[in-house]
Amino acid sequence: MDVNNHFIEVPLLLNFTLGSGRIRSVTAVGGYLGYWILSHREGQLFDTSSPMWLEETPVFYAENVEFNSIKDNRFEAGMTLKTGIEFDIDAVTVFSLIGADFSFTDLNKNYQKNLTGRYDLVTYVEAGVLLHFGGEK
């Protein structure tokens, strides 16, 4: 089963730049708040009531999972850490970062004993271009 969870996140980061030449090291540290907006799962199961079951033909499913207010914690908070480099090319700054979001909050509400936690850990690569407006950099 493949599950894709989608969140809207609002980050608040402190950006540290080391160096003053054309190539600089950049590290960003901070936190974020998020809201779980969608959960989608797809996969295959065997419908044992179907004659096709005898040939082991699976039933495919792809659905948005209905959230359950007893079990799903849709608010999320965590820490963000990013690092990489940036460098100037003419009037623009190009950057490339690798980052990770570490969630502190369980995607489950505490609805039972011996609950196995589900914590988001997202790693990603960012690349972009900074355009400078309004005077000299």
Binding site: L18, G19, L45, D47, S49, M52, Q112, N114
Partner: protein, 415 residues
């Protein structure tokens, strides 16, 4: 530049160290450590992860409360000593108390009560609940005592005790009375009159071969003698057929006679002790194939005015049996229900809803005309599991109805 490189490498290392962990389930048996407390821990955690609570059995953390309420009581019992019959019974009573209100009729708890495993007690919460409904004044302790002594039947009225399919077939139709010692001995099928003309050419040939060799040949595993059943059955049906396969499957199909009170003539009546046709159909068991072909013939008889599916005492079985028995009755695929299973260790981890269909499947000719005629499922307190799903199926037909008492309630998956 060197500082930039160092800082970048350090930061990258920190990111790479981040990892997630996979959940590794704990085997309940590993919690059992020779003390009653360990057995309770094993039972509680095994149930916590595997039992299907739905929203019935722990809507407000009742199963957590079970842990809080009982862990100290099991601790007090100390180490397991099967020679200490008092403590063994006390432990059984505690398991009974903490499980007695579970709702899934599939669930039963078996507990060994002697060191060599020769003695055990089997406890089904549903039995307790039926006993309580039967006699609300009975104390839980007195019900437990009967169960512990293996005298569960004393808790039930005769009406409930004999709601099983075999008793129904015996009491309503006089089946199995004359030949009950043989009824479980071997597979048999017998009919009201020679209906071999209704069979396919292949089965006709096989039947003729059996008849020529004589019905006493045990290796055939089939005998179809004429007019062997009780006269009771002939009072109700103009044509009928009975199938007995050892102690595993008992079924009757017939066409009602004219003049019966409350039942029109020419209604198909089929009674099924359970749904294990697939097991015999797939190995081409002769009596089973004959039974199914006769049933098929009845279903395709346009003069038939409806069908009664008697699921009283039906203990369930294979889903695929519905397909084997009823696939020629639907003009197109008929959605009968949506099924979902538990997936994952958490109490509310469920998989997706999967639609369950009866898929149209006709070996020859058209579908049966029965789909637009009255179809009735008969149920009682011992109709369980697949009998309950089949009742849902009947209700999906335009004139499908369910008649009878509350069913047993086997709603969870089998673990």
């Amino acid at each position: 530049m060197k500082k930039i490189l160092t800082l970048t490498i350090l930061s990258l290392s920190l990111l790479l160290l981040a990892s997630c962990h996979d959940y590794i389930p704990v085997r309940p048996a590993s919690l059992s450590d020779g003390a009653w407390e360990g057995v309770f821990e094993a039972y509680w955690s095994g149930m916590n992860e595997n039992y299907v609570f739905w929203d019935l059995d722990s809507p407000s953390k009742e199963w957590d409360k079970v842990y809080d309420d009982y862990i100290d009581k099991f601790k007090e019992l100390g180490a397991i000593d099967y020679s200490n019959k008092t403590d063994v019974k006390k432990a059984a009573l505690l398991f009974f108390e903490l499980s007695k209100n579970l709702s899934d009729g599939h669930f039963a708890l078996s507990m060994i009560t002697s060191i060599n495993g020769a003695d055990s007690v089997m406890f089904s919460p549903r039995t307790f609940q039926i006993a309580k409904e039967t006699d609300p004044a009975a104390s839980d302790a007195s019900i437990f005592d009967k169960i512990y002594e293996g005298k569960e039947d004393d808790l039930l009225t005769d009406e409930i005790k004999y709601e099983d399919a075999i008793s129904t077939l015996k009491n309503d139709f006089g089946l199995f009375k004359a030949n009950s010692p043989q009824v479980y001995a071997e597979a048999t099928a017998y009919w009201s009159e020679d209906m071999s003309d209704y069979l396919s050419e292949k089965l006709k040939e096989k039947n003729a071969d059996f008849v020529s060799k004589g019905t006493s040949n045990k290796t055939l595993r089939a005998e179809i003698p004429k007019d062997t059943a009780s006269p009771m059955i002939s009072q109700y049906f103009s044509k009928w057929m009975v199938l007995n396969i050892k102690d595993n499957l008992n079924a009757l199909v017939g066409l009602t006679k004219a003049g019966l009170p409350g039942v029109p003539a020419n209604v198909i009546y089929i009674a099924l002790s359970n749904f294990v046709f697939f097991q015999y159909y797939s190995r081409m068991d002769f009596p089973t194939l004959v039974f199914l072909e006769i049933f098929e013939h009845f279903k395709h008889d346009n003069s038939v005015s409806g069908m009664i599916i008697d699921l009283r005492g039906n203990t369930g079985g294979y889903n695929i049996d519905r397909q084997i028995l009823f696939a020629d009755m639907v003009p197109s695929d008929l959605k009968i229900a949506e099924l979902r299973t538990k997936q994952g260790a958490r109490r509310l981890d469920y998989g997706p809803w999967i639609p369950a269909y009866i898929e149209r499947e006709v070996l020859s000719g058209d579908s049966s005309h029965l789909s637009n005629k009255p179809i009735v499922a008969l149920t009682n307190q011992k109709s369980v599991s697949n009998a309950e799903v089949t009742t849902l199926m009947v209700k999906q037909f335009p004139k499908g109805r369910s008649i009878g008492g509350k069913t047993y309630g086997g709603e969870g998956c089998l673990i």
